[in-house]
């Protein structure tokens, strides 16, 4: 039988506010344990929460970026459960009136477009962190009270690739609107996966399991593929899937049942009497909407329309607002979109990755970058030297002209000089000449390579090619 995988996500995104959601402690990653805490986030008796207005604003921005309907009224509720990282033993969250209602985004995977429904987005506080050691656990409440939003999707995914595309989209959107850096490795984006399988054509959903501990987008893909296979195997063997929460172990490449928190199923939600409702007027929502920057999807389309870029290029460039900005700033001074795009997608991407630099920290200015492209285009340097110079620029921050000057990398386009070299090399290598004559046209590359080597890569490859061919044909 053929099966279809049905997936829904709960994506937690930590908002990049200055302070926590209900107190004025710093929202900061990586501080010494329990140094970003105060009586409020430690739940000391008598303390009260006061909502951070920026968390509301960010939540609405996020919702609008995912085309969510924003209701006027929302409120905060308490969700009760005991866990040492939850200082009040209830989490302030939102139950029946979330900040953002239904939305929809389009993602592209395996060459097809899919619409993914957003069920809701609500805001809530994060819990602290536990470190386990020996017979004890150590509690650090620095993260307790960090503002989170939870994006809940409809069960609209049918493949791991769609999930990846969606998470990429969410990450890009959040970065564009300045709400979060969405680093799964640092936990600023976390994702729980609800997954089930059903025979293709079936209307009914299968029993689902919930996967936790997904620490990267690629882990999400691996976990989905593993778990879908596990479900199918269980069903094919005549077994039944148990509705449960399972933990993904990325090292082992498997999921394991989690010991459920015993009372996890009765959270006793009720409106938090320490807080008052949030009321957003239509004007306020419209203002926030108007303040949103151009979002990745719109930008992508514009790159295709305005710059004639292939959709693929447009997609890659707009994945990060920093890359997109670098592209746009470069095109503004040098209108060669495709050449710029190629360089960004290949050379820049490689250097960023190899040197572990984030797109927001690109160490080259668009002016220097386009100067380099111009030098290549004008034949001042050849294209392989161009790549070399680019790498040097990336590492030293020097201007391309200076590097070319210092290293004497100017292209050699002196036909006489090159011809003399070609003739010399042809004369010294009768065997490849014979091969060429015998019909092995590839033997030509040997001569081109030798000439380039002799000129330290600086010869104009076009000239070299022409002269080599002419000499060989003559020989």
């Amino acid at each position: 039988m053929k099966y279809e995988t049905v997936i829904g996500l709960e994506v937690h995104v930590e908002m990049a506010t200055e302070t926590k959601i209900f107190c004025s402690c710093k929202n900061e990653f990586g501080s010494e344990p329990n140094t970003n805490v105060c009586p409020v986030c430690l739940s000391m008796p008598g303390t009260l929460p006061v909502l951070n207005e920026q968390a509301v604003e960010y939540g609405v921005r996020a919702g609008l970026s995912l085309n969510c309907n924003i209701p006027n009224y929302s409120k905060l509720d308490r969700k009760g459960y005991f866990y040492p990282d939850l200082a009040k033993a209830y989490q302030i969250s939102q139950y029946d009136f979330p900040l953002c209602g239904h939305g929809e985004v389009e993602v592209e995977a395996d060459g097809e477009k899919h619409k993914i429904g957003i069920t809701r987005i609500h805001i809530e506080e994060d819990a602290g962190k536990l470190v386990h050691q020996g017979t004890e656990s150590f509690v650090d409440y620095n993260r307790g009270g960090v503002p989170l939003m939870e994006i809940v999707t409809d069960p609209d995914f049918r493949s791991a690739a769609q999930v990846k595309a969606f998470l990429d989209t969410v990450r890009a959107n959040m970065e564009y609107i300045g709400v979060s850096d969405c680093k799964m490795e640092e936990g600023s984006m976390r994702c729980d996966i609800n997954i089930s399988v059903r025979p293709i054509g079936s209307e009914r959903y299968g029993t689902r399991t919930e996967l936790k501990n997904i620490n990267s987008i690629s882990a999400a893909q691996r976990a989905i593929e593993y778990e879908a296979k596990r479900h199918i195997e269980v069903i094919e063997d005549g077994g039944e899937i148990i509705q449960e929460t399972r933990r993904w172990d990325d090292a082992k490449g498997r999921t394991f049942p989690m010991r459920d928190k015993e009372e996890a199923h009765d959270y006793r939600y009720f409106p938090d009497p320490d807080l008052v409702p949030v009321y957003l007027t239509d004007e306020r929502i419209a203002d926030i909407k108007a303040s949103l920057p151009e979002l990745p999807a719109a930008k992508r389309q514009r790159y295709v329309d305005e710059f004639g870029l292939p959709e693929y290029d447009a997609g890659v460039l707009t994945m990060s607002k920093y890359t997109a900005k670098f592209f746009e700033d470069s095109v503004a001074v040098y209108r060669e979109p495709k050449a710029i795009s190629n360089y960004i997608m290949v050379e820049l991407a490689r250097l960023l990755k190899e040197n572990n630099v984030e797109a927001k920290d690109i160490p080259i200015s668009p002016e220097d970058f386009t100067d380099l492209l111009k030098m290549v285009n004008d034949g001042v340097i050849n294209s392989s030297v161009g790549k070399q110079v680019f790498e040097e620029m990336f590492k030293t921050g020097k201007k391309p002209a200076q590097i070319v000057e210092e290293k004497d990398l100017k292209q050699n386009d002196n036909a006489d000089e090159i011809l003399a070299l070609v003739q010399k090399i042809v004369a010294e290598n009768p065997k490849p000449v014979a091969d060429y004559k015998g019909g092995n046209k590839k033997a030509m590359t040997f001569f081109v390579g030798q000439v380039m080597k002799a000129t330290k890569g600086k010869a104009n490859p076009k000239t070299v090619n022409e002269l080599v061919k002419a000499e060989l044909d003559k020989a």
Partner: protein, 484 residues
């Protein structure tokens, strides 16, 4: 007259004229505490050294002619559920037997800004749940008028200490009557401000949607005076009212001719002690004599307020007390092998029976399957009760009722929770409706126990209520003191 029986107004005058120093006044209170505490147990912590120190400091400032606050050098006692920095704040629970807050409640900051002298922390029902101060981990507080009786609760210590002249005034907290009922039992004035008037920041929450801090004082004037100091918007409390606060007490001494007073008949239809009833009827007559327009009226939802109250308050307290888990502060059991045992034993050993009962009740009414039937239903009933009050306050300036159905009862007299809960019957509707009320002594019974009447005004109309209360106080001429 003894120094300790002075009102705030009187004490402030003597201090200002330098006829007495704050040190003398404070030491007089400390001596009084030493003399009567063994009998009444109104206090959990006495901060004698700190108090004398603070008093001396005020005296020095005064000697130097420096500017001083409105409560300069006046000794006060604070209910033990309000956080006082560096001073034990236990809420009378074993759970917080050793807890010293690192911050001051907003009300404490305000009192400090007026140079008051904190002399002690008052005993109370554990986490403010009770009507008799019998549920305290630190022992029962006794009524200064008759030490075989309770002082009421939950602010029993705060009421008893003022009645017994251990301090010039005190603060209590009122969730369903916890200031007014003990004030009535102890023959002092007790105020429950409109919800939102006094910041709750630093008040250990019982039922967040109902809790208000209020003063217990020797007269109505002091009550308004203290409210004027502790009221005001606080950015640390989202439920603190954002408005222009009036000058509390202004116009208090104007007569009440033409004041419209409603007498909700439901109060008198309850089982009420005969002497309480008589004292109340006398009060009604006094209002008429003073020129008020008194009319019988009806509060049809009266009968439902108590049930709604127990559902709502328990739900909130179950959640509010979940933070006591033995991790960040307070008591932790010594008997545990794993986390769950640590949680359960800590909470089972740290909380008393009444607290456990309310936690259980609260979690029951919030739990899956019961939420709609109990919690949501109670919130809807709350709407109806509020509507009832809104309607009455369209017609009347104040409502008049007895504060409690009986005078102070014997220690140990209430054997079931419901018997105890019924004590709050007359006070609870005020909290549910979020309005304001004051309890003012109206007389004493043949057995020599004080009884009081309650005046209720619409939200944020304390000044009309103070005027009624002050005029009534003058007319009633209550001047009895316990003979302790």
């Amino acid at each position: 007259m003894e120094l300790t029986s002075l009102s705030i107004k009187q004490a402030a005058e003597l201090l200002e004229k330098k006829e007495v120093t704050s040190e003398e006044l404070t030491k007089a209170c400390l001596e009084r505490i030493e003399a009567v505490e063994p009998q009444i147990n109104a206090l959990v912590t006495v901060c004698a050294d700190e108090a004398v120190e603070a008093a001396k400091c005020v005296d020095e400032k005064r000697a130097k002619g420096e500017a001083l606050g409105k409560l300069a050098g006046i000794p006060a006692i604070i209910k033990d559920n309000m956080c006082t920095k560096g001073i034990l704040s236990t809420a009378s629970s074993k759970m917080l037997y050793n807890y010293k807050p690192v911050y001051d409640a907003t009300v404490i900051e305000k009192l400090k800004a007026e140079d008051y002298v904190l002399i002690a922390k008052a005993n109370m029902d554990e986490f403010a749940m009770g009507s008799s101060t019998e549920t305290s981990y630190f022992g029962v507080t006794k009524n200064p008028w008759d030490i075989s009786r309770v002082p009421g609760g939950s602010s029993g210590g705060s009421a008893a200490c003022v009645a017994a002249d251990e301090a010039i005034f005190s603060l209590g907290s009122d969730t369903g009557g916890s200031v007014r009922q003990p004030a009535a039992f102890c023959g002092v004035v007790g105020l429950k401000p409109t919800y939102g008037t006094v910041s709750r920041f630093g008040l250990m929450a019982f039922a967040s949607s109902l809790d208000q801090i209020g003063p217990l004082t020797k007269n109505v004037e002091d009550s308004a005076f203290v409210l004027d100091i502790i009221a005001g918007n606080d950015s640390k409390d989202s439920t603190s009212a954002i408005m222009d606060y009036p000058h509390y007490g202004e116009g208090m001494k104007r007569d009440i001719k033409g004041l419209k007073v409603g007498i909700p008949k439901e109060y008198l239809e309850q089982e009420i002690d005969a002497e309480v009833r008589q004292s109340y009827l006398d009060a009604v007559r006094l209002f008429e004599e003073m020129g008020a327009i008194v009319e019988e009226t009806t509060l049809p939802t009266f009968d439902y307020a108590l049930s709604a109250y127990y559902v709502i308050a328990s739900a909130e307290v179950a959640s509010n007390l979940s933070r006591f888990d033995g991790i960040r502060y307070g008591y932790r059991t010594e008997q545990y092998d794993d986390l769950k045992e640590m949680y359960k034993n800590t909470r089972s050993e740290g909380f008393g029976d009444e607290t456990k009962r309310r936690i259980m009740l609260g979690n029951y009414v919030l739990s899956s399957g019961y939420y709609d039937a109990y919690y949501l239903k109670a919130l809807k009933v709350k709407t109806l009760i509020k509507n009832d009050f809104d309607r009455l306050f369209g017609q009347y300036d104040i409502l008049l009722s007895p504060t409690a159905p009986t005078p102070a009862f014997q220690v140990g007299a209430k054997s079931t929770p419901l018997e105890m809960y019924v004590n709050d019957l007359f006070t609870v509707p005020v909290n549910i409706a979020g309005v304001t009320a004051i309890s003012v002594p109206s007389g004493v019974t043949k057995e020599g126990l004080p009884v009081s009447v309650q005046m209720i005004a619409k939200a944020f109309d304390e000044n009309t209520m103070f005027r009624a209360a002050w005029n009534f106080e003058q007319a009633a001429g209550f001047d009895k003191k316990p003979t302790l």
